[in-house]
């Protein structure tokens, strides 16, 4: 039991860390901007989900696959699939954003709250 928990933490660490290394190499070797990295990985997650590879990856790595932004894309692919099964053509429109809704709303609400609560810190580079 404890061993299983430790193993799942290690798998999450290794897979999540490896995805971050891939993103870091893209930044350092191809001069992709961070915004492009985020967009690329979300779209890659949708592609992985569409190919049916995302679910097995989450089954193996847990949060190591769902916490990096490919998880956002993977959740969108699954949401779209379910929406199209239930609603047909309408699901093409309702699926993507509803699958991403909790994370997006959380980021927007906490971001707004932070903007009201905190003052911007001077950036050091």
């Amino acid at each position: 039991m404890t061993e299983e928990i430790v193993l799942s933490l290690v798998r999450a660490f290794v897979v999540g860390g490896a995805l971050c290394v891939a993103a870091q190499l893209l930044i350092d070797l191809t001069a992709l901007t961070p915004a492009r990295i985020l967009v690329s990985f979300v779209c890659a997650g949708v592609a992985l989900g569409a190919l049916g590879w995302y679910e097995p990856l989450v089954g193996f790595a847990g949060a190591g696959a769902s916490v990096p932004l490919i998880g956002f894309g993977g959740a969108i692919a699954r949401g779209v699939r379910e929406a199209v099964e239930e609603e047909g053509l309408l699901g093409v429109l309702s699926g993507p954003l509803s699958a991403a809704s909790a994370g997006t709303a959380a980021a927007l609400l906490f971001g707004y709250g932070a903007a009201l609560l905190f003052r911007s810190k001077p950036k050091r580079t």
């Binding site: 967009v39 949708v46 989900g49 916490v67 998880g71 894309g73 429109l93 699926g95 994370g103 971001g111």
Partner: protein, 149 residues
């Protein structure tokens, strides 16, 4: 002195002049910090999955990490970590949260509607747009396929 460089020549000069990127060090830091964030996520997931179903637990993990990243961004601590961690903080959902919170904070002085309201989407907007685009294309393909099934 000849000041006209061809573009490839110019790129070569810029490359030689620029400080060498510590690729291996950056990758190691991204691995350690990104891996740690994902392990924390997994550590949150395990007890949450006992309280609710796996899918909701996974969404709660995302929400908790987004909250933590928003609070750390507000306190000015996220940037300090991100400067060393690079993609290690960028790629996990913490990076998405930071990309929403940081411009919201910085644009506070420009007003709540066209400042915070507009700038909050400056990086999240492209992410949401292309995610929607990719998701809808996939959905359309599924729907077309279902017509012939």
């Amino acid at each position: 002195m000849d000041r006209h460089f061809s573009p490839p020549d110019y790129r070569e000069r810029v490359r030689r002049r620029a400080a060498a990127t510590p690729v291996v060090k950056n990758a190691a830091r991204a691995f350690l910090v990104g891996g740690a964030i994902c392990a924390v996520g997994q550590g949150l997931y395990i007890p949450l999955a006992r309280l609710t179903d796996p899918r909701q637990a996974s969404v709660w993990v995302t929400v908790i990490l987004i909250f933590a990243a928003a609070a750390l961004t507000g306190l000015g601590l996220f940037d300090r970590l991100a400067r060393h961690a690079g993609a290690g903080t960028l790629l996990p959902v913490t990076g998405f949260a930071n990309s929403v919170v940081s411009p919201a904070l910085d644009s506070r002085s420009e007003g709540l509607v066209l400042g915070v309201g507009a700038k909050i989407f400056s990086i999240a907007g492209p992410v949401i747009l292309y995610a929607t685009l990719a998701g809808s294309l996939y959905g359309l393909a599924l729907w077309v396929a279902s017509l012939f099934a």
